[in-house]
Symmetry: C2
């Protein structure tokens, strides 16, 4: 894409171009409020060679824009903190709200190319990252995000001149880093690498800008930006139909009808096993911490199934310094205004850390589906999006365990009644619980569809029979212990 790149001559005079550029700039300002009303979020990537003027171009683009409508994200590659999360984590976290523009100053593209040529990643890891980028862009697009991608191309000579000019002045010399100089020295290799990476991430197309030509670059960018925004407004917010990748599912597929709810454990065995398992998990967690293996424990289940008590027993062996429990309730406005998985991405633990989710991203295909809090396309698309999310996590090295805490309807009724009759527990039972109970059959259908579509080989569902809560706790702890041992053998 870069090797064959020549900017087509637009035949415009300097004055006409200036005139038109102003017009585009003004039109973009005027389009921001309609964009907000149409609830369309926009990601504008400005990537390109080092010292090609990315920051300067962003400055020009935002110059006239009301700051309420945009933000700038700077891809800081060198942060040691970032290296403790999945590669795409900062890009998910930076995702703008509906109706806002996010300008990315450099992006995953340069990040991958630089890591590749500095020998930080091998071919497999590179391929993996490219795939993650494709998923990211597709998920955003399918959820109504507009992605506009610029790449500023400059020649080796121009790059070298820019760097020399910056270095010659005391006030700007600090802007040229070693890695910038490295890139100019190995320009040809970078050219190959950029071309390859641009090609492979071109499912949403890159707009290559001519960085050698300072007179046309801003004009070209404004023109493209305006056209893309204008089209988006005209077409309205995009919402894709369900899309499904093929994943290998767990064998056998868990079904609630297979759960034997008569399973139980004696008190004696419970206390002995509880102690043994908690001690064992405590020791295993120390090892996982040092080997930097992260773990996500995800809880879903019927109301009053015993999630809370189960979580407390599971949480006990973990060091609070490397462990969190995240209770998930309905999304806040700023969460609702973003991709459904956004808040869950932001809760992903650091490597070596453990997060327990008390309810999860599966709310989308359960309560949100049943209560109509999202569209049919939204929840149908979610199965695949969730599988991709969990695949990203497991390929990063995380252990992902999903527990469905299962009880029967009679047991639920007994527990509801007990809560209602015990003053200290009364707050735990709400009208909503009773309303949900009325929809048991609908939930059962959604539940079995969820199990069928998301119990993958890499992140299978475990049904935890919980009519006997003690049995349920021990079963959960055993699954966790076994998974931790397996993870420690693997690496």
């Amino acid at each position: 894409m870069l090797k064959s790149f020549i900017r087509e001559d637009d035949g415009l005079s300097k004055d006409t171009r200036k005139e038109e550029r102003k017009m585009y700039q003004k039109s973009i300002s005027g389009i921001l409020n309609p964009l907000k009303e149409a609830k369309i979020p926009v990601v504008v990537i400005v990537d390109g060679w080092d010292s090609s003027g990315k920051g300067h171009l962003i400055n020009q683009l935002i110059d006239e824009l009301d700051p309420r409508f945009w933000d700038v994200f700077v891809d800081e590659k060198k942060s040691p903190e970032a290296s403790r999360y999945p590669f795409m984590y900062p890009y998910y976290k930076a995702m703008p709200e509906n109706g806002k523009l996010l300008f990315m100053d450099s992006s995953y593209l340069s990040h991958i190319v630089m890591d590749d040529l500095s020998g930080n990643i091998d071919a497999k890891e590179k391929k993996q990252r490219i795939k993650s980028v494709n998923i990211y862009e597709r998920q955003l697009k399918n959820n109504g995000y507009l992605i506009i991608k610029f790449f500023i191309n400059i020649s080796k000579d121009k790059q070298s001149k820019s760097q020399k000019a910056l270095l010659s002045k005391k006030d700007s010399a600090f802007r040229v880093t070693k890695s910038d100089l490295f890139q100019n020295k190995h320009y040809e290799e970078f050219l190959d690498a950029y071309d390859d990476a641009l090609e492979k991430t071109n499912t949403i197309p890159w707009h290559v800008l001519d960085g050698d030509n300072r007179k046309t670059i801003a004009y070209d960018a404004f023109k493209i930006l305006y056209k893309e925004l204008h089209t988006a407004i005209t077409m309205g917010k995009y919402c894709a139909h369900p899309y499904e990748e093929t994943f290998i599912m767990s064998d056998p597929l868990p079904r609630t009808s297979d759960a034997d709810l008569s399973l139980s454990i004696s008190e004696d065995e419970y206390w002995t096993e509880l102690k043994r398992l908690q001690d064992s998990i405590h020791t295993l967690q120390g090892k996982m911490y040092r080997r930097r293996i992260p773990m996500l424990l995800c809880y879903e289940g019927w109301d009053a199934a015993g999630k809370g008590g189960n979580i407390r027993r599971v949480a006990k062996p973990f060091d609070p310094r490397s462990f969190r429990t995240i209770p998930i309730s309905s999304p806040l406005p700023h969460e609702k205004n973003r991709l459904h998985l956004w808040r869950f991405w932001s809760y992903v633990p650091k490597d070596g850390h453990v997060t327990i989710f008390d309810r999860t991203w599966y709310g989308r295909v359960m309560v949100e589906r049943i209560e109509g809090f999202c569209s049919e396309d939204d929840w149908k698309r979610a199965y695949n999006e969730i599988n991709e999310f969990e695949k990203e996590l497991t390929e990063w090295g995380a252990v992902v365990l999903k527990f469905w805490i299962q009880i029967d309807k009679d047991t639920q009724l007994a527990r509801f009644t007990e809560r209602q009759n015990t003053p200290e527990k009364m707050w735990k039972i709400t009208d909503e619980d009773w309303r949900n109970r009325d929809k048991w059959d609908e939930y059962e259908i959604a539940l079995n569809e969820m199990l069928e579509k998301t119990s993958t080989e890499f992140a299978p569902w475990h049904i935890i029979e919980s009519n006997d809560k003690l049995y349920a706790r021990i079963k959960t702890l055993r699954i966790i212990e076994a998974a931790m041992k397996k993870a420690l053998e693997r690496k």
Copy 2:
């Protein structure tokens, strides 16, 4: 406090203590929902000697608690990221929501003592930090936060034994750091330093726990925790009366009546000065970035006074990589549920960075006061809280500039009318703007009180006459240029 510390014998038998501990633990579980309903947020600090079992105690305390009600904050001292923010920044950022408990694993206390004895800070900086801690705790308390402070005391011998026990096992050896060993080696000096720091941060009292005695420590902690929570529930959420420190105010104090709104500038002079000032500020910002001096530019003003256009001209010279504009609107639920200044603390720029606030924390004493969105005590207390906040920032090294963009009532009417008659600008004018206009006189009173009470020597208000928007922009840029020059001379 530590040297004279002896745990009073409670005369309880082992069994009775165990019994009572269980009772306290259960009562704490039961109190969490009433706490939430009373909207009381709680900070539980567990500080103490290294290897004294802080993490273990927190684990015991949270063991039975529903995870929806609490979170753990670990004070990670060594993050290079943290060192680029004010000392108290992470503690403000970690602040819990109404009705939630935050357990702090180690705190500012140990942070200060360790930095002191490792020679990272001098006596002046230490004193400054202690003062910041006092302000933090008082502000939290005055805003209804309950703060419960534990310090685990252990003897030199016990500490040494704990460290040896940890080091002897492969699975736990990594938990003992160099700085832990350093502390044991210099135990006596740390004892002096801890005693001194505990004394000076005792305005909200520390509860010293006997870490040498593993049999009583959890019992004592549960008992204190329960009593404090119970008292808080009984008394209801605390809201302090206004409290005022003495600050040196700017001389002269700015008043809107002194503003000469006929001030204007010719177009020619405007364009020449605009270019000169933007170039100059661009260069100065490069210097400030390298010297790591942060800057906050805070905008308030009448509707249609020209804030937006002013901000755009001011923003232009800054590098988007080290600069952000934050538009402030009414707080989201999770922001409203915390100390008023919480979200503004979280927007404080890194050192060397610049943040423009499009509206600010002064909403508290303007719109929130007038519309009754907070209590009278709340907004009256805010003057002092804001002054303390800005003092923290300037003592950290930040440049804080506050602009009130001033127009007269006729000019506002003309601009409102123009917006209403121009299709692309129509969205900018809402019914709320007209309602605010009706309250002009009320706002004027609040405004002058704000200027009088918060135009301090370290963060004075600048009134920007903006009937002529061009004049206003140049005046603002000149003030910024001068302040940057002064900051660069100072350091």
